[in-house]
Structure formats: C-alpha cells, structure tokens
Symmetry: C2
Subunit: 353 residues, 2 copies
Amino acid sequence: VTSSRRATIADVAREAGVSVSTASVVFSGRTPVSDGTRQRVVDAAAALGYTGPDPRAASLRRGRSGIVAVAMQLRLGDAFLDPVMRLQMDGLTDALAPVGSDILLIRHQPDVEAVEHSLLTTPMDAAVFMGASPLLREAASILVARGIPVVVIEGDGGEGVVEIRLDNRDAQRQLARHLARLGHERVATVTLPRFPGAERGWLDAAGEAGIRIQPARERLAGARDVFPDLPAFAAGASLIDEGLAAGRALFADPRTRPTAVIAQSDLLAAGVIRAAEDAGLRVPHDVSVTGFDGVVVDGLAPYRLTTIVQPAADKGRAAGEAVVAMLGGGRTADLLLTCEFRDGNTTGPPTGT
Amino acid sequence: VTSSRRATIADVAREAGVSVSTASVVFSGRTPVSDGTRQRVVDAAAALGYTGPDPRAASLRRGRSGIVAVAMQLRLGDAFLDPVMRLQMDGLTDALAPVGSDILLIRHQPDVEAVEHSLLTTPMDAAVFMGASPLLREAASILVARGIPVVVIEGDGGEGVVEIRLDNRDAQRQLARHLARLGHERVATVTLPRFPGAERGWLDAAGEAGIRIQPARERLAGARDVFPDLPAFAAGASLIDEGLAAGRALFADPRTRPTAVIAQSDLLAAGVIRAAEDAGLRVPHDVSVTGFDGVVVDGLAPYRLTTIVQPAADKGRAAGEAVVAMLGGGRTADLLLTCEFRDGNTTGPPTGT
DNA sequence: TTGTAAGCGTTATCAT
DNA sequence: ATGATAACGCTTACAA
C-alpha cells in the first residue's frame, strides 16, 4: 500500500472494515471494543503505517491540547540559573503530572510582541506567568477572555487571573527588625533588578518608581518599614557576581559603609559577603549580611546565611494545582504563601567602628 | 450580543458582512485587504469579543503548531542544574527564534510510558532529544514515521534521526595523554551517571556494560585508550557534591590512591578537588585533577581547571538549525562538534609519594 | 480585492 | 459492541 499522503484513521477503518468511530475508539480506549475488532483495527493500522491519531486534529476536536504555557522574564539559561525558579518549575511539573500536561516555555523577551504572539498563537490549555510584567497584562487578559485559565506567580495579574503571592514585605520586614534589634542603624539593601535586564546601580526615587518586579518592590518596602531611609543598590540579576559588584559599591567608602546589608536574595548575599571579605571586613563582626530565599548556596561555607526561607516549590505547585482545578471547571482563589525566618551566622551586633 | 458559545471567525464575518476567508485574511495578514473591509472586520471582532483565531484549529489546518518538543532525562530542576544543559537550551532557543517556535519540555521520566505518551500526543512540529536513552528510540522512530523531524544531541538516535555529537572520546583521550605525559600512571576516573538516577559507586565490568549515557561511555573509552585499566567510579549526577563523594572514595586508602583523577565534568572535578583538600592532599602537587566542559564553576578559585572546553551552546544551536532546515523541507546531515583542550593549574607531575 | 468551497483528521453523540 | 453523522474552527487554492 503505497500512497503519497499519510494514512488517516478513515483509511485504517476502511482497511479494517469497521466504521471510523470504532477505529477511533480503539485508539482512545474510551469505549469497550471486542477483541476481534480491535485486532483487525490494529493490524490495519500496522499495514498502513498509521501510528495513532494526529494530535492536532485530536486537540481541535477535544478542545484540549495538554499544554500549559509558562512565560518567564529571562532567557531560559538565565532564568534557570535561579534556584528559586528551578524549584518553582519542579513544583509546577509535580502538580501537573496527574493530568499529564506538558510545559511549554514561552520564549524569553526579545520584545514583548514576540511573547504576545506566542501567547496568543500557541494551543495551550492554561498559562502560568512567572512574575508577569505589566507589559504582559494585555496578553493575559486576552487569554482570560478566551476562557483560558491564567495564573501568575508573584506578578501583577489582572481581572480573572489567579495570583500566587508571597508575603515578601512581611518577611523582609522581619529580617530588618532582626537587624534593628541587633542595634544596626546604618543599613543598606541590595535589590533584585528593577526589571529584567536592567543595569545595576544605586536607586534614586525615579529608579524606585520604575521597579517592575513585584518581589523587588515588596521587599524594598519591607526593609523601608524599619529603615525608612535605607539606601538601595539594584543588582543587574540575582547572581553571586552581581552581589559582589553591589558589595563593592556599598563598601567603597569606609566612612559611609553600612554596618549591615539586606540582600534580596541568597545569591546576592553570598556576593556581598565576598565583597566584604575582599574589602577586609569580617562577617558578621564588621558587617552583617542577610539573604532571602533559603536556598543552598554552593561554596558559602563556613557561613550559614541569616535569611528568609521561602516555599519556592510550593509556589509552583500551587500554580499547578490552580491550573488543574480551573481546567476541571472549578473556581480558584488567590493564594498567599508565607516565608520563615532562619537565623544563621552572618548577622551580629554592629561594632562601633 | 450575548451567546453561550464563543464567537468564531464565521460569526465575525457575518457581523462584518464579509466572507469567512476575508475575515481570516484580516487576521493572518497573508493577503492585502482594503482598509474599509479590515476596519469592519476588526470592529465586528471587537463587538463580538473575538480575540483571534483558535490556535488549535489553525494548527490543524496549517499542519504546524509552532512547537518544538525537547525531551530530557531528568526532572527540570535537576536538568537545569547542569550548566551544559542551560547553554544547550540557550543555543536551541536562539536557533529557533527566527521561525518563532516555542519549546515544550517533555516531562521528566516518572516512567518511560508517560514520556512516550507525551511524545505521541503533543502537537509538535519537531522534537529534540537531549541524550536519548535507548528506551526512547521507539518513540523517536514513530515520530520519524509521522514525518516529524527528530534531532538527538549526544544520544543514540535511530533511522532517520539527525545526530549532533561531540568528539567525547578524542577529547578525553587528549586529557588522558596530557596526564600520561606528565608521568602519571595511577589514574582513576569519575564518570557521569550510568543512567539518569543511577546510584553512585565503583564500576565493575557489568556496570560499565550498563552505561546508557553516551558521553559517559565515550569519555570512559577515551580515558581507557591511554590507561587501559583505570578504575572508574560513577557519580550519581554531575554535581559538585557527587564529585566530593566520589573523591572521598578515591582517596580513602592512602596506599592505593591515584596520583591523578579524570573527572567527566567540571562540576565533578570541583568536588574531587574539594575531597582532595579535605584529605589533606594538595592539588596539583599530590594529586592532579582534570575536568570536562569548560564551564565556569563558582567558588573554584584559585584553581583554574585543566579541562576540555566543549561547545555546549553550539550543540543546542546546531540542533535548532537542523530542525529549522528540516521544517523547511531540507535534508540535514549528522554533525560532529569538537572540543578544545584548556590547560589550567590543576595538573602537574606526580610526586613519588 | 473579495468570495466559494473543499477540506484538515478527529471525536462525541446518538442510534441501532 | 458498532456505526452514521455532525461538528471542531480555521486556511487556502481558485474563481470571480
């Protein structure tokens, strides 16, 4: 049997001498079929080189593609450099496993248009935004209008979007209080980037107003709750090297250097600690450093960061569960997850230098 | 206009008083349309809450979904822990960007069946296997039979599958020769896992026969080309901690300890170096260590690994380019990429201890 | 520039 | 247990 076009289920049915619907049912297994019939269909399929239903046609008919899109801010390699992101993805895949959905990564932002195009053009059953920028709200609202469930993790959703949030502000405030109780007054903070790809540098009022990353904004607010005037240096990414660069800036002038540094991520904190060491400062004797995330930072020993442990995998899992629930027709409420303080050996009372 | 079902392009066409094809063309922009007509269609769409063509229907009709599936061996979070994997993904996305395809991650292996199901059920235009195990060859061949381009990076493809390979054996042999020239005779190797999730431990003949990861097999062969009897310890993953554990095993007995260790990845090498330090051995004075990959390993300073630099991003890019070419109807040949030796300060002549 | 018409390959419903 | 039939929503020759 040589034909130019690929065999379809209709061909198989004809070859097997059954109806199309029967052949279909053999492959989907959604209805009992007699053994004899099944065998004839299977044989016919083998003879024709038919390897099963075309997913495109099936998804049109079913109205489901088994695809959940994940949109993130950075290019893949950079995004996955972040341990928190990796944990979130793991949580998400875990939650999605029961329904068998796969994850489609919406390509990083060359420009917003490309992302929107993907978002509106991909056959997805649901979408998860990891830290959606306001720029993508329009795309999100279109998805919602189409009846596609949208969940956003730590980002500004919109009407009809389920939000998974973290108590960033409270958590950061806790850490700041810890420093205040220890007696620190000259405290500075190293923030996450203001937006993906932003340059690092000191934040002035205008810069702060332009912070488009929700966790950065909220954590800064939490630190300010305790130290209203604390200077903020924005890193260019959540990386050890960026923390190092930020630390150099903070420790540049011995007379104004802070006695404590609040870093918005553990990776940044690790970099700040290194900068301190490079500047001849001991941690925590000369300078205290706090992190955020509670992840394992390679090579940080013998330090154990005083930090905030966030339930990163749970955020992803919650997003996945929300998706599953909505796909099942249920409604889902926003969710607020909470962090936990963890004391380490990188903070201590200030020494009157 | 309140209707229970979502508006389709037919509704829009009717409302705008044009034919369906005209309405379609307004959205796809593949044919000139007069301004007046376009406006009427756009208005009608707005009035009906129509937000553009359904991707499922479009992909059935077009025969393209804009999706390239990537199958990998580990769960996402673990896979992306590997810098080489991250670089590969970046190269792949770069190469795919021009055609606008997005990447779908086939969910990690709970069991092979689930992976196969995803592979056969997802509306993909092409598939890229990152290190395909023999287990997935059947799925690959079905995809090929369906006319879907399949590319495998450092794995055992099959008929009709394009392979992107690395000169692992040559490269590893180069490093081994380097050690031989320095005068080493008691050399051991730390290999990548035999298969995803394998336990770490010494490799006996049976164990070696069961190596299902192509790079592990080839690099071991390369080392054996120079040191036929070298003992091999398989790590449980390509991680610093695993290298550390392996190193402990290697350095356990002072009388039999090797004077040089060939690690199959930089991460493993970093761990081995740490184990050496813990055992009171100086690198390279007491023991030489070589890596593989040529990636930046955080916290390895002041060491600069003597290693092999592999073109990781290029592997991904090559895979992407192969996909694009095949999608464009072209044929593509297998590709062999080559590595480059890089001398560092972690190898030196053995000291007659 | 616009319209006509013929599918794309399935699956779900409802009979039989 | 099996079959007939009607969608699913869109795109693209081709014709007008």
